[in-house]
């Protein structure tokens, strides 16, 4: 998790300075916007487990994200279950969905674009199901009652919500770092680099990949539950829509897939760019997306290893080239 170069240290310091500075800004606008970015960062960190470390690029993390959000919402709205229990259940549901998709896809040896398409199909099927059944609120979605309090996990004070999200993001990143340097992480990276070789060395690749999907699903489910608790409303398009899946993968790709800090830096950077462009071009709604897209294309073209990869080349502390932060 430590930076390997001066460039990475500066990038991480900038992100931390920005996150800390929000406590001293009187504007709720930037804090509200960053709350959104942090929720996306959690799902980006989830994608990073499978896509970054495992080389299994999913286009359907919305399936796990939405399942977590819906599981928590159904328990609270339809069955009156306490928000804390529902919070945990959402994470478990996300993990179960991840494991289910992984078990099915990897059992039949799906890889690369086939795996990506299967995950996308799962998310779409779940979206249609969620908009069709009464238990998920049908087309109207589900809404939590506005009842601020610790027992309902709803907080009026934006600073409290922000602090909780910061702690959760830090925990997810710490878990990611621990996973990366654990035996499991080494197996997962081995699967990414050469699955046949990993299998020849005795690694149960199927088990490792399903496990990675379950862990990733748990993080994505957590992000879905966070979305629900912050905005108190979900419907099928919001949590199972393709926008979620795209946001999940774009942050790590820009920030640096397979690194601990990359997903957070990429997500924050992209959101800041979008928000900054919106403020600069406030009289022309939509133009900010054009600017956003241009920067995105440039980043994809010129930064194949993301921002963390670029930063790693500036003022290297050590000579281990493959070990990014």
């Amino acid at each position: 998790m430590k930076p390997q170069s001066m460039g990475q240290a500066v990038l991480i310091a900038l992100a931390l300075i920005y996150l800390a500075s929000l406590y001293f800004m009187s504007s709720p606008v930037w804090m509200g916007f960053t709350i959104n970015a942090l929720i996306v960062a959690v799902v980006a960190l989830a994608w990073n487990i499978t896509g970054g470390f495992g080389g299994m690029a999913s286009f359907g993390h919305a399936a796990m994200y939405g399942t977590g959000a819906y599981a928590s919402a159904i328990l609270q709205v339809q069955y009156g279950i306490n928000a804390w229990i529902a919070f945990g259940a959402g994470i478990v549901a996300g993990a179960a969905m991840g494991a289910f998709i992984g078990a099915l896809a990897f059992r039949y040896g799906l890889k690369g674009s086939y795996f990506a398409l299967v995950t996308l199909a799962f998310a779409e099927v779940l979206r249609i199901c969620a908009s069709s059944f009464a238990i998920t609120g049908g087309g109207s979605g589900l809404q939590l009652r506005l009842e601020p309090g610790l027992s309902t996990l709803q907080f009026n004070d934006r600073a409290v919500v922000y602090t909780i999200l910061l702690v959760i993001v830090a925990l997810v990143m710490a878990l990611t770092a621990w996973l990366k340097y654990s035996r499991f992480g080494a197996y997962l990276i081995a699967v990414r680099e050469n699955e046949d070789a990993a299998r020849a060395l005795g690694i149960d690749t199927y088990r490792i990949k399903v496990k990675a999907m379950a862990i990733s699903g748990a993080f994505a489910g957590l992000a879905g539950v966070l979305y629900l608790q912050v905005w108190l409303f979900i419907d099928s398009a919001v949590v199972y829509g393709s926008a979620v899946s795209i946001e999940a993968l774009i942050g790590p790709i820009i920030g640096g897939a397979g690194t601990v800090w990359g997903p957070l830096i990429g997500t924050l950077g992209l959101h800041l760019l979008g928000e900054g462009a919106k403020h600069l071009l406030h009289n022309a709604p939509g133009l900010n997306f054009v600017l956003y897209a241009v920067v995105l294309i440039c980043a994809l073209r010129f930064l194949p290893q993301g921002l963390m990869g670029l930063a790693a080349r500036i003022g290297t502390f050590r000579k281990k080239e493959n070990d990014n932060a």
């Binding site: 959104n36 049908g138 087309g139 809404q143 506005l146 905005w231 919001v238």
Partner: protein, 407 residues
């Protein structure tokens, strides 16, 4: 006499000018009328951009008209200043945008074209004691949450459906009950699915059997199979619930496949009350009927709005109308309350009995945030116009039902 200006001199001159202009500014400001900020939270980008942009235009027309008429008189002619923010067709962005509105100091805001956006924004606004007057938000959950800052000026889906079915019953009875069967074509999202479900439950109670129900995703482009299925079902009427583009393509496919229907009868139809559909697909649009939000075309303010919209080269859609009307409602509350205090605004809106809007409603009466005196009306496309055909007191034309068959 020569006059030279060096760098130091230029700096001095600039500083002096800034000082003079700064000192004189307060007197200029004192001379100007006070402004009152009203928020407009609409999806200006994303898949609801058309509706959101139309709504934002409607709000601007209303603000311009009120300002031109002397502003808020009880506040010394205060001028309305709109703060327009983009919800990007995403609920979490709509909720975040409320922070921007609150920081800008708006007294209330209107929005947000779709129920999902409005649900999120009004919940966020409740934390600021900021009133949201819904332009469009048909989901009943909007007014079932007990939020004191929610004011839905236009009718919800339950009222729209019940009025539409009652009007259909009357139309059918007046024609000798020729309609016995119906087909439902709906998009598979929140709006279409809910509407289809209500129709399937309630049409049989009117003696109309639902012989075919077809769902499709949004976007969807090839409606030939759907048109053929509708034709094969032998349904007398078609009840569609889908958005502008799909509605348009569906109507064209039905014409191409020569589906013989007694009527296309929409409820909150995506294109049926849209002049763009009438203009661009005039032949297939003929006699399409809709139960939807619409203004009272006989009021002078409505006619002035229609003229302004035409002058601006925009489409006159119900989005423009309802957004215009919600600004009128907020302006009336400002006029009566003479205060920019947010809590006072909520109280004033809750007690509103405003009857001067462009909509064909009775005096505003908010019960749990729902305007019980709102109502949808039936429109029918005739020639190049959208005529109001129900209720009679506002009608500009007689309804044609069933439609005359070709050939």
């Amino acid at each position: 006499m020569t006059f030279t200006l060096n760098r130091r001199g230029l700096l001095k001159a600039t500083g002096a000018a800034a000082l003079v202009s700064g000192l004189s500014m307060p007197s200029i400001l004192r001379a100007q009328a006070q402004t009152v900020k009203i928020g407009v939270l609409e999806p200006l980008t994303g898949n609801l951009a058309y509706n959101g942009t139309q709504c934002a235009a409607g709000a601007k027309f209303a603000a311009d008209a009120i300002n031109a008429a002397g502003g808020i008189k009880s506040m010394g002619g205060a001028q309305i200043e709109l703060v327009v923010v983009d919800a990007q067709s995403r609920p979490e962005i709509a909720a975040s945008a409320v922070d921007t509105l609150a920081e800008a100091g708006v007294v209330a805001f209107t929005g947000a074209s779709a129920s999902a956006l409005g649900l999120a924004s009004s919940q966020a606004a409740a934390k600021y004691d900021l009133a949201q007057v819904f332009s469009i938000g048909t989901a009943e959950t909007i007014v079932e949450r007990g939020l004191p800052n929610v004011f839905r000026f236009t009718p919800g889906v339950n009222k729209c459906t019940s009025v539409a079915l009652e009007n259909l019953k009357q139309l059918n009875a007046a024609a000798g009950n020729p309609v016995k069967t119906a087909a439902i074509v709906h998009e598979d999202g929140p709006f279409g699915s809910n509407m289809a479900k209500i129709m399937a439950e309630q049409l049989p109670q009117q003696g109309i059997e639902v012989v075919e129900t077809i769902s499709h995703p949004t976007p969807h482009r090839d409606f030939n199979n759907i048109a053929l299925r509708v034709k094969a079902s032998g349904a007398n009427i078609l009840i569609p619930s889908n958005y502008l583009n799909e509605y348009t393509l569906m109507a064209r496919a039905l014409r191409q496949q020569r589906a013989e229907l007694m009527a296309i009868y929409s409820i909150l139809g995506g294109a049926a009350s849209n002049i763009k559909f009438v203009r661009e697909n005039n032949d297939v649009a003929q006699y399409v009927m809709d139960c939807n939000h619409w203004y009272d075309p006989n009021k002078p303010e409505s006619q002035a709005l229609a003229a302004s919209v035409a002058e601006a080269g925009l489409d006159l859609t119900y989005d423009v109308m309802v957004s215009y009307a919600t600004i009128q409602v907020i302006a009336d509350a400002l006029e009566r309350g003479a205060s920019t205090d947010r809590k006072a605004m909520i109280e004033t809106l809750a007690a509103s009995t405003f009857d001067g809007s462009i909509m064909p409603y009775g005096p505003t009466k908010f019960v749990n945030g729902d305007n019980v005196n709102s109502q949808p009306v039936n429109t029918q496309i005739r020639g190049d116009k959208i005529e109001l055909v129900f209720p009679e007191e506002y009608a500009t034309a007689e309804p044609v039902f069933p439609v005359p068959q070709e050939g």
